[in-house]
Every structure is written in C-alpha cells, then in structure tokens.
C-alpha cells in the first residue's frame, strides 16, 4: 500500500509525447505557413467591408439578363452530358485494367493506374487550358477536358467495383452453358450496374458544376458570360448569373440523388 496512488491516464507517456508532438508540429506548420504568406493583415480588416460593398452592388440581381443566359446554360449541361458519357465509355477498359482481378498483367495494371493518376491530378480547368490550344475556344475543348478529367474518376471507382465481383455467381451461370456475352449480361452486369449508374450520374453532377467555369478559359458554357460580366463590373448581371447557375446545380444534384436512389 505504500507508494503512489493508482493513476489512470488515457494515453501512456510515449503516446502522449507523440500526440502533443503532432499537434505542436501541425501548429508550427500552420503558423509558419501564415508567416510565409506574408499576408498584409490590413487587407483582412478591410475585407468584410469590401465584401459587404460587393454584395451590395450585386443586389438586386438583373433578371432581365437571364434570357441571354439560357443558351450558354444549355451548353454547359450539354458539355457535362457528352463529356461524362465519353468518359464512361473510355473509362470502362481503364477500369478493367485497373482492377486487380481482371488486369491481364502487371504492365497493364501500371498503365491503368498511370492514366487514372494523371487524369485525377489535373483539374478540369487545366485540361481545358490545354485543349483550348488544341481545339480552339469553344465547347469542344470544354467537352474533351471534362471527358479526360472524368476518365480517372470513373475508372478508379469502377475498377474498385470490378474487384468486388463475385465470380462464383458467374460460375453458376457458366455451368448452364451460357455464351460469353450472356455471362456478361447475366453474371457481371447485374453485379456492377448499380455502381456504374451511380458513379456515372455522380460524376455528371460534378461535371455540371465544373462546366460552369470552363468558360473562364474560353472552353464554352455559361462561364464565358460570367467572366465577361465580372470583367465589366456588371455586378447585378453577375449575381443573376450566379443564381441561374445555382438553380442548374440544384437541379442536377436532385437528378443525381434520384438516380442513385432508384438503382440498388
């Protein structure tokens, strides 16, 4: 009974050191970053006022402009639709070689991973920059950029889905004497269909959002109008356009949620 009273601590000495160390380390990094950025804090104090001023100039939104926005908004959606479809079609073989259980050999696996990585690391708008150089300004560049960026996203997720395929189910159909096509339709597609639809619609939704700004670099869609409006300080037009974009995004998100609900 002599000696120290029993103590309970959640973490032992070493763990505590690590935890405190990482928190301190993270704090140092953040403070260091802030210093590095050498931000003139003056701006921070004037910021709320400036933002307020800006919002003041944006109100009320100029709804009379909206008819002009219909065409570009439609184009935005079209870019997302065609871009997503093209991406899904091209992502199917990529998914196939990225899945550990279906990839023919290590080279194809590495190739698949490479394609997915490059596609995912570069933001759609950067792809748009490149494709505007290649295809000229317009929706074509935007569509290709959307497609190329989406291949990585869809390919990675679809590949993971393919890795989950239960080949016993396929074997059951195989034992009846089904042809390879029938095996695909009856054995494989039912297993990945919900994911395929879900992933495609999810990416389409993301692409609608991304397509709204492709116009900033000349790749088509409502972004062109928005950029012009900002450039000419037509703030009320800007806010009208922002609301229009918001409406479109809400609708696309609704469609996406509905579709993913319907497919189990």
């Amino acid at each position: 009974m002599a000696g120290a009273t029993p103590e309970w601590r959640r973490f032992d000495a070493r763990e505590r050191l690590v935890r405190i160390g990482s928190v301190v380390g993270a704090a140092l990094v953040v403070i260091g970053s802030w210093e590095l950025l050498d931000i003139n804090l003056q701006y921070v104090t004037t910021a709320p006022a400036q933002v307020g001023d800006l919002f003041g100039r944006m109100y009320p939104p100029d709804v009379t402009y909206l008819p002009n926005a219909v065409g570009p908004l439609a184009e935005t959606i079209q870019i997302a639709v065609v871009g997503t479809i093209a991406a899904v079609v091209m992502a199917a073989p990529v998914a196939y070689i990225t899945a550990e259980n279906t990839t023919p050999n290590r080279v194809t696996y590495a190739l698949g991973k490479l394609i997915v990585t490059v596609s995912r690391s570069v933001h759609t708008i950067v792809w748009a920059l490149l494709f505007v150089v290649m295809f000229g300004p317009g929706a074509l560049a935007g569509t290709v950029a959307t497609a190329v960026r989406s291949i990585g996203f869809v390919g990675k997720l679809l590949g993971e889905e393919i890795e989950e395929i239960d080949f016993d189910q396929v074997e059951g159909v195989k034992a009846t004497g089904a042809s390879p096509f029938q095996l695909l339709v009856y054995g494989i597609v039912p297993q990945i269909k919900p994911a395929l639809v879900g992933i495609s619609v999810y990416r389409w939704d993301i692409n609608v959002r991304a397509a709204t700004i492709l116009g900033f670099v000349g790749a088509g869609g409502i972004g062109v109008q928005l950029f012009e409006a900002i450039d000419s300080f037509a703030w009320r037009t800007v806010s009208a356009l922002l609301f229009a974009i918001l409406a479109v995004v809400v609708v696309s998100e609704g469609i996406s949620a509905y579709a993913r609900r319907k497919v189990r």
Partner: protein, 278 residues
C-alpha cells in the same frame, strides 16, 4: 448415362487430386460421393462439366465425349448438365425467375437473353419448377432477399429447368441447417425419380448420404475406394473411405458395376462379391 474412364487431375503444383477414377452413373440413381476433406470429391464433380479441366482420362455423357470438346461444343454440352453449388452461385441482384430462366441461356440467342425474352415453354417450365421446389409466388423476389434454403431451391430449379441428362450437386447442403438439408436431399431424390435423371451428389454428411442415396462412391486421396449400395456401407467400408484402411477380403466391390440394375431405384441388384483390389 455418364461414364468416366481413368479420370485424373493433377494440378500444376504437383498435387494429384484425382487418380484413375472410372465410374458409370445412369438411370435414375441417386449417387452420393463421400470421403474426407481434400479427397477430390469436388474436383471430380467439377471435372464432369469441365469447370475443372481433367488432365488424364475421359468423360462421356450419353456417348458424347466431353473431354475433347471445343469451347462452343462444351457450352452446348453443359446445357445437358445441371449443377447445384454449395454457395448456390446465384446472381444475387437478379430475381428468382431470372436465375431459374438462366438455366435456359444455352438455348436462346444473345439478343433474346439481353431482353429477357425466353420462349413461353421455358417460362412455363420455370413456373412449374418454382412450384415444385416450394417457391411459388416468389419469382419476383431478389435472390439476396432469400434465406439459404430458399436460395438452394432456386439453384435446384435452375439446374432442372435445363432438362439435363444428369444433375450434379457439389456439397449442396454444406451451407444449410440440418432440417433444410434434408429438404434439399428429398428434393434431389424426388427429381431423380420424377424426371428419370441420375443425380450425383458430393456430400460430406455421411448420414444424409446413407439415408437418401441409392449408391455410394467413396473417394480417398483421389482414388475410388468404394462403390456400392448405401445399404452395404459398413463400418469397415467407412474406415476404408475415411482413413484409407485396406479393404477387408469380403468387402463389397470396388470397381464399378456394369449391370443394368442401375436403371431403377428401389431395386438393389446383388453386389458382385469380388475380392479386394490391390
């Protein structure tokens, strides 16, 4: 009539799973294959429809050689072989009806399969079979909503809708509780009698084998060590099958019978009292 001759399977690792198995199965006999784990029972059953490729020997079904068939011919031959699996091997996201109808895929075109456009006779057959296995009214349920016993019944219906010349069952009861297992075995034996097809069941519950099978094949370490009536399965025979003991002098025949007594159930032909093989 299924015939295998000196069937053997050696895996690339060198493991000899089957060795020199020659057997004849026909009529409407219910044949149970028993033996210890790893004896090769599953390998044997899967060699018949070449889900596993045999390395030596031959198999023929109603006179047609299966071992040498091309891919297309093999698919056609598989239509005549119905298979029931231990884990059911059903397509879980599809409905019961689609799974049963998938037994007829070998008879429909790709396009028809895509549209789920099966001939009316097939659909009728499917409905009849669903009634037979006790799943009447459940054709629109998704398979993943069913219990294990129900799923196995769908699997049986799928095998039988093929109107096969033989039904294979690879441990059909291993994933089921005892009562459901008995139901499944009943079903399989009824099918043999009603439809006049032989049924080969790979099973490790010896009591089920003894109760429901007409004939027992015993496999030990890849070799056929027992082939006789269920009634003749003595303790010594079980020792032979499960512990690789030497068969006693007066044991039942080890080599397959060739008489036509395999044609009818309930009629047990007198076993040939051959002496033990060495």
């Amino acid at each position: 009539m299924l015939e295998t001759e000196t069937l053997g399977k050696t895996y690339p690792t060198g493991d000899e799973a089957l060795r020199d198995v020659s057997v004849e199965i026909g009529g409407r006999e219910v044949v149970a294959m028993i033996g210890p784990s790893g004896a090769g029972k599953s390998t044997f059953v899967r060699c018949i429809n070449r889900l596993v490729e045999p390395t030596t020997g031959s198999i023929s079904l109603d006179g047609q050689e299966l071992t040498g068939l091309s891919e297309d011919e093999l698919r056609n031959a598989r239509r005549d072989i119905g298979m029931v699996f231990q884990e059911y091997n059903l397509v879980e996201r599809l409905t019961v009806m689609e799974n049963v109808l998938s037994g007829r895929l070998g008879y429909v075109s790709n396009w028809a399969a895509l549209r789920r456009n099966f001939p009316p006779e097939d659909v009728e057959r499917a409905y009849e079979l669903l009634e037979l296995v006790g799943l009447d009214g459940m054709e629109n349920n998704r398979v993943d909503e069913l219990s294990g016993g129900q799923r196995q019944r769908v699997g049986i219906a799928r095998a039988v809708v093929q109107e096969p010349k033989i039904v294979l069952a690879d441990e059909p009861t291993s994933s089921l509780d005892p009562e459901t297992s008995r139901d499944v075995m009943e079903l399989l034996t009824d099918i043999a009698i009603d439809r006049d097809v032989p049924v080969l069941i790979n099973i490790h519950e010896v009591d089920l084998a003894e109760t429901y099978a007409d004939r027992i094949l015993g496999l030990y370490d890849g070799e056929l060590v027992f082939d006789g009536r269920a009634a003749d399965l003595t303790t010594e025979s079980k020792g032979v099958i499960y512990r690789g003991e030497e068969p006693p002098e007066s044991a039942t025949a080890v080599r397959a019978r060739q008489s036509s007594d395999a044609e009818t159930t309930g009629q047990r032909a007198d076993p040939e009292p051959l002496s033990a093989e060495d």
